[in-house]
């Protein structure tokens, strides 16, 4: 079995095994750790062996349902590598941080399942396979919210699932449509990405098909106005799944725009790019401003994530080497930061039983380590220099200015927007007087430090030595942009 298949299926098989076998919770956790660390090891090996100059690598191609041209077809390039690494790094760290809190077997099984699903979706090069994994990711989320969530969890789980499945169905219709269209033109069905590239559709058709795909991605990301599931879902989802959703699944949506839409419908993508740039910029500001009046910590972070994801979308649709690299860098960097911040929000909740900003305060007095890390991760979301977010934002803003000067100015407000609420939140949560909820606040425990320190170091490393990381992405990105020159450049 190749390492890519192993990365995808090891977690899924382990999850099935744990599901079927009755085991002690400690054993479950140990197996979880073993599996995630194996995946991490495999991914690191992948990262080291990855040759930046070649495009698609470690390709595995097995016929699956050959009469319909569906194959098991996976491979990795510079951008999916980022997502794979994120997934591989975050999963064990989440477990380390939540190690003592979660004693339900289902929690760990679902997380493993999600890991496999995300890996599969990130690596698959066959549309059907991608669709399969895309849906597989959804199931554990549904169960996790339903089983371990807070508040009106059933309603919210249901709403989230129906909403996302609605999008996925549109995508499925589009996938089938292009497969049939391919058969009409070339005589056989195909779902392979590199073959579907050659498909010629009329502009109306491709716009519709593009819309079907885009709806699925837009809901998952979410792009304005498909965002209303977001804050409720984040609020009621348990920490592990919030991290998965914000750090991996939303990013996968943006990644899929690049991987599938830009490859298959490059002309349509260019045509609609201005609208999506507009929508992204609007979302950037809209979500940012919405977050300012939030009193619930997780909702604020949710909206802040949405704001950044809009920026990522802008970066992709700019279709310029800086925008592309900036967005893929922001995917990774924001995944790290938001995972860390949601993890810390979870710790906060576990210690104080509240997410309400108004009820918190004074944590820095008695828990300096917690305060330090909390402030650091919040600032890394804001994009302070020497953190990875800064590099990414600068690149996206550069791309935006390259595209159009006004787009540039609006994109540049991203350095203002996040901090408007972030700083006030830091003040209210960490500083000032101690409150009832925060009295006796326990500082970070050892295992929590073990989870947070690597994240912090990675964020710093990516901010101080970005070149090392970007060299892995750059050839992929420039190969994309050299195919199609950036469309417009007016002053």
């Amino acid at each position: 079995m190749s390492s890519l298949s192993l990365i995808i299926f090891l977690p899924i098989l382990a999850a099935l095994f744990l599901f079927l076998k009755r085991l002690n919770i400690t054993v479950v956790k140990v197996i979880y750790m073993l599996v995630t660390f194996t995946v991490l090891y495999l991914s690191l090996e992948l990262y080291i062996n990855f040759d930046p100059e070649a495009s698609m690598q470690f390709v595995v191609l097995h016929p699956w349902i050959s009469e319909y041209g569906i194959n098991y077809h996976v491979g990795v390039d510079g951008v999916s590598l980022g997502i794979v690494m994120m997934n591989a790094i975050l999963m064990p760290l989440v477990a380390i941080a939540l190690y003592k809190q979660r004693d339900k077997k289902g929690y760990w099984i679902n997380l493993l399942f999600v890991q496999g699903g995300v890996m599969g979706a990130a690596l698959s090069l066959d549309l059907m396979l991608f669709y399969l994994f895309w849906e597989i990711m959804l199931l554990p989320i549904f169960f996790m919210i339903g089983l371990f969530g807070y508040g009106k969890k059933n309603f919210i789980a249901m709403k989230f699932n129906i909403y996302t499945i609605l999008g996925s169905l549109m995508m499925l219709i589009s996938i089938l449509y292009i497969a049939v269209a391919y058969k009409e033109q070339f005589g056989s069905y195909s779902f392979a990405l590199d073959e579907l590239k050659d498909l010629r559709l009329s502009s109306g058709e491709s716009l519709l098909v593009f819309g079907g795909f885009m709806l699925a991605f837009a809901i998952k990301i979410p792009i304005f106005p498909f965002h209303t599931w977001l804050s409720d879902t984040y609020r009621s989802a348990p920490t592990g799944i919030v991290i998965v959703m914000s750090s991996l699944m939303a990013k996968l949506g943006t990644y899929a725009i690049w991987r599938f839409l830009f490859t298959m419908f490059s002309e349509t993508s260019h045509e609609v790019a201005p609208y999506f740039i507009g929508l992204g910029l609007f979302g950037l500001i809209y979500f940012g401003i919405s977050a300012m009046s939030q009193t619930h910590l997780k909702r604020m972070f949710a909206l802040s994530s949405a704001s950044h994801l809009s920026l990522i979308v802008v970066g992709f649709f700019i279709y310029d080497i800086y925008g592309l690299i900036g967005s893929s860098y922001l995917i990774v960097s924001h995944a790290l930061s938001s995972a860390a911040i949601f993890l810390m929000a979870g710790m906060l909740y576990e210690r104080t039983d509240t997410y309400s900003i108004a009820m918190l305060g004074g944590i820095a007095r008695i828990a300096p380590k917690f305060a330090l890390f909390f402030a650091f991760f919040s600032l890394s979301i804001v994009g302070i220099p020497l953190t990875s977010g800064f590099v990414a934002e600068v690149l996206i803003i550069l791309g935006a200015f390259h595209y159009n000067i006004y787009v540039g100015f609006i994109a540049a407000t991203s350095i203002l927007i996040a901090m408007m609420f972030m700083f006030r939140m830091i003040s209210r949560v960490l500083y000032g007087e101690l409150r009832d909820a925060t009295a006796g606040f326990e500082d970070l425990r050892m295992h929590e430090l073990f989870a947070l320190v690597p994240l912090a170091l990675l964020i710093l490393a990516m901010g101080i030595f970005p070149n090392y990381f970007i060299q892995k992405i750059e050839p992929t990105a420039s190969s994309y942009t050299s195919q199609k020159e950036a469309p417009s450049y007016d002053k």
């Binding site: 965002h227 401003i289 380590k369 220099p385 540049a412 960490l430």
Partner: protein, 625 residues
Amino acid sequence: MSDSTLLSTLLLSPLISAALIFFINMLFLNPRQSLFTFLALTGSGVSAVLALIVSYQSYFHAQVFTSHLFTWLSIGEFTIELALKADALGSFMLLFVAPVSFLIHLYASGYMDKDKSYGRFFTYFNLFIFFMFLLVLADNPIIMFIGWEGVGLVSYALIGFYFEDIQNTYAGNKAFIVNRVGDFGFLSALMLLFIEAGSAGFSFDSIFLSLAQIDPSMLSLIAFLLFVGAMGKSAQIPLFVWLPDAMAGPTPVSALIHAATMVTAGVYMVARFAPLYTMTPDISLFIAYVGAFSALFAAIVATRQYDIKKILAYSTMSQLGFMFMALGVGAYSTALFHMFTHAFFKGLLFMAAGYIIVAFHHKQDIRELQGIRKSLPLLFVMMFTASLSISAIPPLSAFFSKDAIMGALYASGHVELFLMALVASLLTAYYMFRMVFVLFYSQKTQSTKKSSKSMLYPMVVLTVLSVFAGLLNLPELFGGNLNISNWLNLLDKELLLPHAKELLLISVNTLLILGVILYTYKRYAYTQAIHKESQENLVAKKFYVDEIYTLLITQPLHYLSIFFEQKISHGIIDRLINLSALYYARAGILFSYLENGNVRFYALYMLIGVVSGFVYLYWALRGVL
């Protein structure tokens, strides 16, 4: 030690000491304070010594130090090297930034004595020096921007240093947010600059070489946006609101960051981009006007302040206004020279203020601090000297620098700027001596026993410097040869006055200032005039600028946020989605009426289906039949 390692050591030694202090502070329970002091002073001391070496070499041998650390980022044409370069301007900055930092470190070790967050303080402090050096030494604007944001970040952390009072941290937030508004302009300008002129590399030199190809209107836009950045950092109208609030931090912070070094970064940046600004005279003039209004505004507000540190804060803003005036009319080295002297006397004034504050149990209101001359005689001397200096009394340092600015303004032909500067300068004398006379010339007496050697020594050094620093750039009039200006060799405009005219200007100016001081003495020394001032007029309320900003920006944003979240997201979009789900369920109920269990209805549906099929087929096959 090679040039390159020397420069890298200069940059990195504060970072290393900051990191060491940080880890010791985090990992050990009760580290000894003296260890922190040692580390902090070593870090800043090493860089101070090296900075002096660099400046010496640069001044006497015109040597340019460079150091290439690593490639920060390289994508296509966008290549950012993390390279350091100490040319004349950089070395000049080092010349006062590093020693003043070291002195203030020394002072802070006394000021912060026995503070429970001693280690945290010096972590930030050393980190600040690191970022400041990065800002000064960066060879390309992106790295400069990193330093620029970095100092802002540390400034944020230090303003909110006493985070037990949440208001302090709000002041820090305000400082950082306002600064970032400026940074927004700065970053936008850099991006435009790269797109327009970055193809040949993005170091300062290569940018300046390709400036000529840029469209003039675009160049003006870039220049303006860069200046927006400077406005934020150097507290000019309209982005000055953070500076008075920033006085919430410990006094050494105010001395180092909000007087001597960081706030002058805007001036440095404009001077650094001098080749750009010489090509955009409109924007330069705009800078001059902004500087003039800021100087005047701050001077007016300072006349009605009572908090000793706020007076000094407005004074800083006012002096920065002077520097921008000089920059605006093209007298770059004059502006930088004023910045140089300003660092000494303003640093000294803040240190003195801090000394008073520590000595009198953290009282900061000058009305409560009256009559402290007896108990602090040395301090009185130093503060009096510094006040004379800032008021530009010859032959103290600021006399030379400020007078050069006035001369340049006059020579540039913009009389209105000159008059504004003159008024601001007179007001400077007024508010400074108002403070001095209220503090030291009073019937009341207060006494204290506290004193700290480590606080006093740096002040003595700075007193000496603020007296004599002016001699370094002695104009020809007094037999000098403008050493610093020649050294810096910036693109100064020729703004020379005939000696007779200059002499006349100086004497009139000095006489006027002396007159103001005399008036102030009459008014405030040994009187209760300070208590009779109205608290309600426009000046005392600082022209309601904070309130206007709250009304125009903060509150609308808040309401907009609530509007977006509750009205649009929840009220419209989410409701539509939920309603569509609800109506879907309703539609299900509607259809369930059809399924009523009554077989003849089923037969009816079947019939309808069959008939429709028949009709359709009949219609479809009408041609065949």
